[in-house]
Amino acid sequence: MMPTCRDVTRKATALDEGALPWLERMALQVHLLMCAHCRRYVAQLRLVRRQAATLPRDAAPGELQAHVRDWFKHRTP
């Protein structure tokens, strides 16, 4: 049976992770070929994932940096 749009939204990560049986994976991919809304939904999930990898990184507090730099300099080789 062909998956519905609702099924696609529930299984998008399992699809990307390669965690679905072959037949189910093929059925979802056929659905995605035919359904622009689901393609958009899956693309948006993937954009979230990609953007997460490039989030700005906050610097550690100065006090922690001072401690660890001191420990690092005085470490026992």
Partner: protein, 231 residues
Amino acid sequence: MSGQSLDPGGRYNGVTADAVARHASAALPDDATLVDALQAGDVDMFSAVVDHYHRSLLRVATTWVRSKEAAEEAVQDTWLAVITGLPRFERRASFKTWLFRILANRARTRAVRDGRLVPFSALLPEGTDDDDGPALERFAANGQWAVPPSAWDADDPEAQGLRKEVGAVIARAVEALPPAQRAVFTLRDIEGLDAADACNILDVSETNQRVLLHRARTRLRAAVEAHRTTR
């Protein structure tokens, strides 16, 4: 051990430790170069590493400990353990995987000592169907979209402005995720660890890890959608 990747200009694969240290967001050099530098005693590179991972370590520590103070102490314990263990680090795992394994151990130890250990399994919610995708009301009875997702940027989905906006919403929304989802999302999508390493660090099954990751991505996509609808 010598810092064999350090060139005469004091650069590691073209990246100076100073340049990395100035910006917490700067990409770190590749693993071999990074570990060479740390084992050679490059304190500026170590500072850059501390900045780079600070927020993610705190996020993952709060999986087991509940207070901000306890999480900060677990992170501090982790850096001390990293400094102590660096000379013996054999690179069987990536530096990042090793770092988060130490963090998980330190956070659990601290939580046990404080009598406040929250087992990861206790953080696995039953969940409802609405956690796994858009709400039921957005679908017709036959399962097709009734209210489909709107385009975030119809003309150019890769537009710089959109990416910045999505990033800003994610940065806020990730802090509001339930702890287990936040931990999995941090390890998988922010830090880029693979599923096996994330499962190992969090002591969670691959299936549960995948469910948590999917729920986190679903919530964050919904947060971006809500932001774009209400602006």
